[in-house]
């Protein structure tokens, strides 16, 4: 079942992009992570705070961390691309088969 028109699709894609790009253009900021700001707020409100447990493994450098984040995104995006591709490929195949059944005469073999 189709949820939105082709036009709405482009509109939504553009709006998603605009929402994430606009801040970079119009808002000056540090662009730190909200997760870390949350941790900082905890530490600031509790004098002498330090976490009672440390991560058992940490990426050794920011480069390795961004590598792993990129890997996570790539695995996810790759899977979605594969699934959408297969679904659409299968739909196309069905279409072709249906056309063959209805008009087999003019299809050269």
């Amino acid at each position: 079942m189709r949820l939105i028109s082709r036009r709405a699709r482009y509109l939504l894609a553009f709006a998603t992009l605009a929402l994430t790009v606009a801040p970079l253009i119009f808002v000056k900021g540090q662009y730190g992570g909200s997760d870390d700001q949350g941790s900082a707020a905890v530490a600031a409100s509790q004098p002498g705070f330090h976490p009672w447990f440390e991560p058992i493994w940490k990426p050794p450098s920011p480069e390795i961390e961004s590598l792993l984040f990129a890997l996570q995104a790539a695995i996810g995006a790759g899977t979605i691309g594969y699934v959408v591709g297969r679904i659409h490929g299968a739909a196309k195949e069905r279409e072709v088969n249906n056309n063959k059944k209805t008009a087999p005469a003019d299809v050269p073999h």
Binding site: R2, T20, V27, V42, S45
Partner: protein
């Protein structure tokens, strides 16, 4: 919304873990049932898991001048029901806790509760509400995904405020402080997630009968 390793007192870690556990067990049972009853929807299930995997890895800029990440749990919550997301979201959180030092094992219960339980259930009920009011599938999915994302961050703010109430203003003051960090930053990102969720669900469903097969819309065949 990730509460970092060691940032919740042990008692809170245990309590949130205990609160999340039955949802995770229920999710495992439901996940098995979905795979058995809808074998043809396995690809779509994989894509739903992948969606939260990719989108929660992307820290996006927001109007507050800081970055935050969407959760991506609304898609699977609408398609397969919120229990399933306790597992799929839990896997994502475990991956990030173990390999990225993002979130943590001690805070896993609390993080699962906000991202993989509250978010998906809010998404699901809002989607249900919208469609039962006669609104279109696309609008229901948008509202569900956007508000579910936002609700996850509100839950995190509540969790932190419960653990660290303000000395003067108590829970409310602390909640407002943490929500100031999380909730405002999240608004445009939640809206973007809503749009993206509609796009991805459309890509997964426009050439297939998956919504009919899963009983989300009345079948025409």
């Amino acid at each position: 919304m990730h509460i970092m390793e060691g940032f919740l007192p042990p008692g809170h870690c245990v309590a949130w873990g205990a609160a999340a556990a039955p949802f995770v067990v229920h999710g495992a049972v439901k996940l098995r049932r979905v795979m058995r009853e809808h074998p043809q929807a396995r690809l779509t299930l994989a894509a739903s898991g992948a969606f939260t995997f990719v989108i929660s890895a992307l820290k996006l800029p927001s109007v507050t001048g800081s970055c935050s990440h969407p959760t991506g749990t609304g898609l699977g919550a609408v398609l397969f029901g919120p229990p399933v997301m306790a597992i799929l979201g839990g896997i994502v959180l475990l991956f990030q806790a173990l390999l990225l030092a993002h979130g943590g094992l001690t805070t896993l219960g609390a993080n699962i509760f906000s991202m993989a339980i509250v978010g998906p259930w809010v998404s699901y009920w809002l989607w249900k509400l919208c469609t039962s009011l006669g609104l279109s599938m696309a609008i229901g999915v948008f509202v569900g995904a956007a508000v579910g994302d936002w609700a996850t961050y509100i839950t995190t703010s509540i969790q932190l405020a419960l653990a660290y109430p303000d000395a003067a203003s108590g829970f409310t003051g602390a909640f407002l402080k943490f929500a100031g960090v999380f909730a405002l930053t999240q608004v445009p990102l939640a809206i973007a997630e809503g749009f993206l969720t509609v796009l991805v669900m459309n890509a997964l469903s426009e050439k297939t009968q998956v919504l009919e097969d899963l009983g989300l819309v009345r079948g025409r065949s």
